[in-house]
């Protein structure tokens, strides 16, 4: 059961081409929906049934999100795809854009049909030049084939789709900052509520979903919500793309059923590099709290299993660390990232992320003080849950996770002004 949904064309030659996508039945479900004039409510119901949860990291049920839009409200509505894949460790959406862009396009058209939107935007991360070109080429093909534009396949339904290339800010992956960015403003999150379903792009009702979520839609509608739900486990329907990296032999993207044991995923990725001992795993992108390797070997890759271990499945970015890694150094690197990427809008994140980084940095460089670990806990606590968007939490969680499981390593750094791990 690998590569069943988003990567279903991966085994083909030049799988990103329209003809290849169509050879696997691509755009068939769209044609069906349009010719049968399937009820939009039925589509949303099917998506709900599939158990698909937002693949960008938050895991919010996609069908439920769509049902928040008042479909018959007058005026423009929008479908926005979040391809600003910026979470360190995550590189799955890139492969969808590179290898199966048409499935995303089909998914977005279907989403537009379901909520009554006639315009879509795909916001692609600024550094993704190759995926951007692939996607643009696919748009061209789709437009020529009559899948985009006015009166699609004579159905009376209009939908067009545009690409927006980001400028390279991590914060623009936050959905409301992304909307601001499309509007041409500085990428800063909006205070929620109101949520995008009511006040989104240009103040209009908008659904904004992750690339993988939208690319899953055609298969859900083709084979049914139940089929998709059954691939996975309870509360975690479907299959999921995992981008696994770190001290392993075969880093890459794997589409596997939800609930697959981590050990199996690790095996697919070629196991630990040089046969070293697994020390820790960051299971859902850099903002997910770290889980000790031994514990991780007993967990399954689904929302509940990972959450049960005090972390989160997030975007499915699995970073595997072996025993040569210094956890202080690892945290320093992550804290630096959030410090650099804070947008600066709200106080706890603007000021707190820099403070976290500086304290971790001084511990790493042998200048740590005895009170520093309590200080880190306290500062992280003062950020988390107090900010406009989730970036503050994302900066606090790795600190809290590291101190929960590897406090002794940090203490050692402070006491001895050096690392307990040889490589540190």
């Amino acid at each position: 059961m690998v590569n069943e949904v988003c990567l279903r064309t991966l085994d083909l030659e030049r799988p990103w081409l329209m003809e290849q996508y169509q050879s696997r039945g691509g755009y068939e479900v769209l044609k069906q929906v349009l010719t049968e004039k399937r009820a939009p409510e039925a589509i949303i119901e099917e998506v709900k049934k599939s158990g698909l949860r937002g693949r960008g990291g938050a895991g919010f049920p996609t069908g439920l999100k769509w049902s928040f839009i008042s479909r018959n409200a007058p005026g423009q509505k929008y479908v926005v795809c979040n391809s600003d894949e910026g979470e360190p460790g995550t590189f799955k959406d890139r492969d969808i854009l590179r290898y199966n862009p048409h499935q995303l396009i089909e998914g977005m058209i279907l989403a537009g049909y379901a909520i009554g939107a006639t315009r879509g935007y795909n916001y692609i991360r600024g550094e993704f030049w190759e995926p951007y070109e692939r996607f643009e080429q696919a748009l061209q093909e789709a437009r020529e084939a009559g899948f985009l534009g006015d009166n699609l396949l004579g159905s009376g339904f209009d939908f067009d789709l545009h690409t927006h290339l980001g400028g390279g800010a991590y914060i623009c992956g936050e959905e409301t900052a992304l909307l601001e960015s499309i509007e041409g403003k500085k990428g800063q999150p909006r205070y929620k509520p109101p949520f995008p379903a009511h006040f989104g792009l240009y103040g209009r009702p908008t659904i904004i979903n992750n690339t993988e979520s939208l690319a899953s839609i055609p298969m859900i509608l083709e084979k049914g919500g139940e089929w998709f739900a059954d691939i996975g486990v309870k509360n975690s329907g479907g299959s999921k793309l995992f981008s696994i990296s770190g001290n392993i032999n075969n880093p890459g993207v794997f589409e596997i059923p939800m609930g697959t044991p981590f050990s199996e995923l690790l095996e697919m990725a070629g196991g630990m590099k040089d046969g070293r001992k697994i020390k820790a795993v960051i299971p859902g992108g850099s903002s997910a709290p770290v889980i000790p390797g031994e514990q991780m070997m007993d967990l399954n890759m689904d929302y509940d299993s990972i959450a049960g271990a005090g972390s989160m499945l997030g975007s499915g970015a699995v970073i595997v660390l072996d025993d040569t890694n210094c956890m202080v150094k690892t945290l320093e690197r992550m804290s630096y990232f959030y410090h650099e990427e804070s947008c600066g809008q709200c106080t706890p994140c603007r000021e707190g992320t820099g403070w976290l980084y500086r304290v971790v940095h001084r511990i790493e460089s042998g200048q740590g003080r005895q009170e520093d670990l309590d200080l880190l806990d306290d500062v992280a606590d003062k950020i988390s849950g107090k900010t406009i968007c989730a970036l503050g939490d994302a900066a606090a969680l790795p600190v809290q996770g590291m101190l929960r499981h590897y406090r002794d390593e940090f203490q050692y750094h402070i006491d001895h002004q050096r690392c307990m791990v040889g490589a540190g």
Partner: protein, 785 residues
């Protein structure tokens, strides 16, 4: 938002609040304090400072009170352990990169960060790393910056976007490197810019003229009324040692809300100009000599009596004088048989006077301005005439009102609006076209223009919008009133208003323009605002038919007049000019024979009647400078010395009460009988001068406010014209041009400006050199210098 009330509970106390309002509005109304920095009642909610986090029952995270709508049954704790922890956490974050340089910070003692830190901060910082330092910016002569102190609340940014209507400040950079500034180094030029000084919760933006001059705790706050435009904005003066140190707004929701214009904020500097006239002086053999008050007053009274025939005297009064001064001045002069009294120094046409028997006014209350659906402004650049009024018009525009402008120059709007730009000579014709489109028949004063008017799409649209609106104004601005065909514009505007159901609005130009009419300080109305028994000469005729003697009150020859050179020649040719003035100037000294030093704004008590007819009293709060005396006292003694009854006032309140009684039945009304057979005086076929009075050139006080004079809005002694007009006049590549008007000529630096219509050159009035020319709208010749 609905009117529905919900019940919430804050700290155990039950509150009623309008459904949909934010929690912080409800707690503010109930007097429950929640600390905040970014929230401001007049700005949009940004929820970025996170200082107002409170605990709401059943919500796991603390919520910002500024962005959380109240809902029925909501239970809120503003000082629970969870709320306090969040608030203290934010406070600590705000302070880690703040320089804490309070001892050298101008905001010290009135700093919101300082105040809140006392309640929520720690005594010792846990942050030992280097702090952020931000380079300061030069954003002009009014506002000093110290951006290291900035806490990124973005109030100044939101002010620009939402209130001033021009985005001058913004945030650049990310995270800790986020900086508030102008992006490209430039001055902040909004006419309301000073308000960001008040909005800034810390010492990042402070007043440049006030900087390092006093500490907040050394200042005493007293109230006053702004003496420049016709709004009568409410002020708080901050005094130390008998001196006005700075000016702040005083909230008055129905006038200035919580804002004031830069003119009202910084004009106080003029009080301390070295030009202040500080002792009575008389001219003897061409030399000015200081004399005693007694001697000066006796000489003044004697020389007024000596002229004998009251009709041979002209009385010219500044429209920024207090109501009491205006009333006493006309009482004194009418008592001497002089009916030649006027305060409309910049008006260009007085043909309407004959049929006016009521007081002209704004035509609407100020608070109704924001509710207007269509406003058609004729000859007005409201932003640069009366900034706070413009703010209200902008609010109306933002709410969807249609604004139309007919002007002899393209103006900078800070809201959506249609502009019809034509030469001064074409204005009446264009206005007639709109009136014709609205169905006005060719009759009455504007008959010939109405007959000839060609109705185009824009005229139709304006007329249609006026008709369709529920609440519309046709407003005559300062440029219309300065127009030589003001009577025509007035007649056409009145007919247009009548035909469309709109109100006619005659924008009073100065602080007491309405008051002057009530006080009888115009030739055709007497005290009480009713038709005068015997009408005298208006300003223009007093100057065109020079009198033997003049009494000037607060007036500066040359710069305060519609026709500067005419005012100089008339006054210089007089036998006797008595000037009651706060300032001396070379022009005044050249004209006057006796100068009596007068106390002004802040030094004297007095009343201002604003554009909507509201009477507001101001007290004298600092001692007059030198030997200067309040104007009412000077006029009272002149009344005594000219043996007139009814001049035994003990205080200005008595004068106020006397006039107030006379005004009991007076009404403000712009309706009047139309004069017949008005023919255009301004030709449309010759090269015309157009001219406004720049924002900071309007009266003697503001002209001496040094910081304001360094801004863009101070205006410049230049000639501006369209590049094609310059080419036509053979001025290609010239830096200067020779300008001739009414037999006067000067060289002026030349500026190409596409906003000036062709067939017209733009030369502002009220400036040092341009006031030696003639009227702002009139025939002019321009050639190579």
């Amino acid at each position: 938002m609905t009117d529905k009330l919900v019940t919430i509970e804050v700290n155990g106390q039950e509150l009623q609040a309008e459904a949909g309002i934010m929690l912080i509005e409800a707690t503010d109304a109930a007097g429950i304090n929640i600390p905040r920095f970014c929230y401001h009642k007049k700005l949009s909610v940004s929820a970025n400072c996170r200082m107002c986090l409170v605990e709401v029952e059943k919500v796991p995270k603390p919520l910002p009170a500024c962005a959380t709508p109240v809902s029925d049954g909501m239970k809120v704790y503003t000082r629970s352990p969870k709320a306090l922890a969040a608030q203290k956490g934010t406070m600590e974050f705000l302070l880690i990169n703040h320089p804490l340089d309070c001892p050298i910070c101008d905001q010290g003692g009135e700093c919101e960060l300082q105040d809140v830190a006392i309640g929520y901060g720690r005594d010792v910082s846990r942050y030992s790393e280097g702090k952020r330092v931000v380079a300061d910016k030069n954003i002009g002569p009014l506002i000093a910056t110290d951006m290291t102190r900035c806490i990124h609340c973005t109030r100044c940014v939101r002010f620009g976007e939402e209130i001033a209507g021009i985005r001058e400040m913004g945030a650049t950079g990310r995270g800790e490197h986020m900086v508030i500034g102008t992006y490209i180094e430039k001055s902040v030029d909004s006419e309301l810019s000073g308000n960001i000084i008040d909005l800034c919760p810390v010492g990042a933006l402070t007043s440049k003229p006030f900087r390092f001059n006093a500490r907040a705790w050394e200042l005493t706050q007293v109230e006053a009324i702004a003496p420049h435009d016709s709004l009568g904005s409410n002020l708080n003066l901050h005094l130390r040692d008998n001196k006005v140190m700075r000016v702040h707004p005083k909230d008055n929701e129905s006038i200035n809300e919580t804002w004031i214009s830069d003119r009202d904020r910084f004009s106080y500097e003029g009080l301390y100009s070295s030009d202040r006239l500080t002792s009575p002086m008389v001219k003897k053999g061409g030399e000015w000599k200081e004399v005693s008050w007694e001697m000066a007053l006796e000489m003044a009274a004697a020389s007024l009596k000596e002229i004998g025939d009251g009709d041979q005297i002209g009385t010219l009064l500044a429209p920024t004088s207090t109501l009491e001064e205006l009333f006493l001045a006309q009482k004194l002069m009418r008592g001497l048989g002089c009916n030649n009294i006027d305060s409309r120094l910049r008006q260009g046409d007085f043909r309407m006077d004959a049929t006016q028997n009521s007081v002209h006014w704004l035509g609407s209350s100020l608070s109704d301005m924001d509710q207007m659906q269509t406003v058609f402004v004729v000859g007005g650049n409201i932003r640069k005439e009366q900034p706070i009024l413009a703010h209200r018009l902008r609010k109306a525009a933002v709410n969807g009102a249609k604004l139309h402008y007919l002007n002899p120059i393209q103006i900078d709007l800070n809201h959506r609006g249609d502009q019809d730009v034509c030469t001064p000579g074409e204005m009446a014709g264009r206005l007639a076209a709109v009136a014709k489109a609205a169905g006005v028949k060719a009759s009455g004063g504007g008959a010939s223009l109405l007959g000839a008017a060609k109705v185009d799409e824009s005229a139709k649209q304006t007329a249609a919008n006026l008709k369709a609106a529920d609440g519309a104004l046709v407003m005559l601005g300062a440029m219309a009133q300065a127009h030589p065909d003001y009577a025509l514009l007035h007649t056409l505007a009145a007919a247009l208003a009548e035909a469309t159901g709109a109100q006619l609005s005659i924008l009073p130009t100065s602080a007491n323009s309405v008051g002057a009419q009530l006080a009888g300080a115009v030739p055709h109305l007497q005290a009480g605002g009713t038709a005068a028994e015997r009408a005298g000469l208006d300003t223009l005729r007093m100057l065109k038919m020079p009198r033997k003697g003049y009494l000037l009150l607060g007036v500066e020859p040359g710069r305060d007049f519609w026709n500067g050179s005419l005012s100089m020649s008339a006054l210089q040719s007089a036998d006797m000019v008595v000037a009651i003035s706060a300032f001396r100037s070379p022009e005044l000294e050249a004209c006057a024979d006796i100068m009596l030093p007068m106390a002004i704004f802040t030094e004297t008590s007095g009343t201002y009647v604003n554009a909507e007819g509201r009477w507001q009293q101001s007290r004298g709060v600092v001692r007059p400078q030198g030997e200067s005396r309040p104007g009412w006292k000077i006029l009272r003694v002149l009344g005594n010395l000219t043996d007139q009854p009814g001049f035994d006032y003990i205080d200005s309140q008595q004068i106020h009460d006397e006039l107030h009684k006379l005004c009991e039945s007076s009404t403000l009304d712009n309706k009047q009988a139309e004069p017949q057979n008005l023919e255009p005086l301004l030709s449309a076929d010759v090269l015309l001068r157009g001219g406004d009075t720049p924002l900071y050139a309007c009266d003697p006080l503001v002209r001496r406010a040094t910081a304001l004079q360094q801004t863009q809005d101070a205006g410049s002694d230049t000639i501006r014209l369209h590049p094609q007009e310059a080419a036509r006049l053979g001025l290609d590549g010239s830096d200067t041009a020779l300008v001739k008007q009414n037999g006067n000529q000067i060289d002026l630096p030349l500026q190409l400006d596409e906003r000036i219509p062709q067939g017209c050159v733009w030369i502002s009035t009220g400036l040092a050199r341009t006031s030696t020319l003639g009227q702002p709208f009139g025939e002019v010749t321009v050639e190579k210098a």
